[in-house]
Amino acid sequence: MELNTIETDAAQVLTPMVDRIDAASAIQFKDAVRAATVEGPDRVVLDLGNVRFVDSSGLGAIVSSMKHLGQGRKMDLAALNPDVDKVFRLTRMDTVFTIYKDIETATDPQTGADAAAGTGHAS
């Protein structure tokens, strides 16, 4: 799976270049995120701006990727479309991840710094 990576001062931003993270692409997604985050900043922001659809397999893959980062690192989410946001809210995973409305807010020195310190509540 194609995954764009940009490092900012606030985080490593990962942008999947696909419109679905579903049963057909969950494994490729996990592999791509693992490969991209072997080393790098403690904070990763997953930019879901291209993603129109996430099913429970895709949700599981995102949770798995976050767990794989390990203690001391964290994964935040940004730019969820309404259907994707709904899956996170329904399953209460919106309480596990910090969710930003867009990538600018997620990487803003102010809001991003708060989130990096573990006090962010930006959604």
Binding site: A23, D55, S56, G60, M66, Q71, K86, V87, L90, R92
Partner: protein
């Protein structure tokens, strides 16, 4: 195929009825994805609202994934048949497979997995039936002689 597998009340309700979609496809991931795309297109073409289209897409994705994983035991083989009809204000979706029975013969309760746990223990699955049940207005399942029949009803007026 004849109408019988689609259940006892499939054709009995009166009122305006419109077939939105009918197809059969293999239960592998990519065929399922294609079917979901066709279903979305049919709903968009019929000017159904975005919230309903989103609900139907996630529910059918979960149901089809469950059929592939459990009824057909991840073989990637096995046919899924799906029809979608608008009847009055209801959307009726009927899905049949020829796979294994539900565990215990019933649809799973779909309890949301506990997420108030340590990071390493966060669930990576087990959400499917919870999502299905939370997004439909009615749901029924019958075991067929060979396979499963599931009917889902969505209120097209609900927001």
């Amino acid at each position: 195929m004849h109408a019988a597998p689609f259940g006892p009340n499939a054709q009995s309700k009166g009122g305006a009825s419109c077939r939105l979609y009918k197809a059969r496809f293999q239960s592998d991931n990519l065929s399922t994805r294609d079917a979901l795309a066709d279903i979305r297109r049919a709903m968009v073409k019929n000017a159904l609202h975005d919230d309903l289209i989103g609900r139907v897409e996630i529910v059918l994705a979960e149901l089809f994934n469950n059929i592939a994983e459990h009824a057909y035991r991840d073989t990637g083989e096995g046919e899924v048949r799906c029809s979608i009809d608008l009847r009055g204000s209801d959307m009726i979706v009927e899905v049949t497979d020829q796979g294994a029975p539900m565990p215990g013969g019933e649809m799973p309760e779909g309890t949301l997995p506990d997420i108030d746990v340590a990071l390493d223990d966060l669930p990576e699955g087990g959400f499917g039936w919870f999502i299905i049940r939370s997004q439909v207005n009615a749901l029924s399942h019958h075991r067929l002689a060979l396979g499963n029949f599931t009917r889902l009803t969505f209120d097209t007026r609900a927001t």
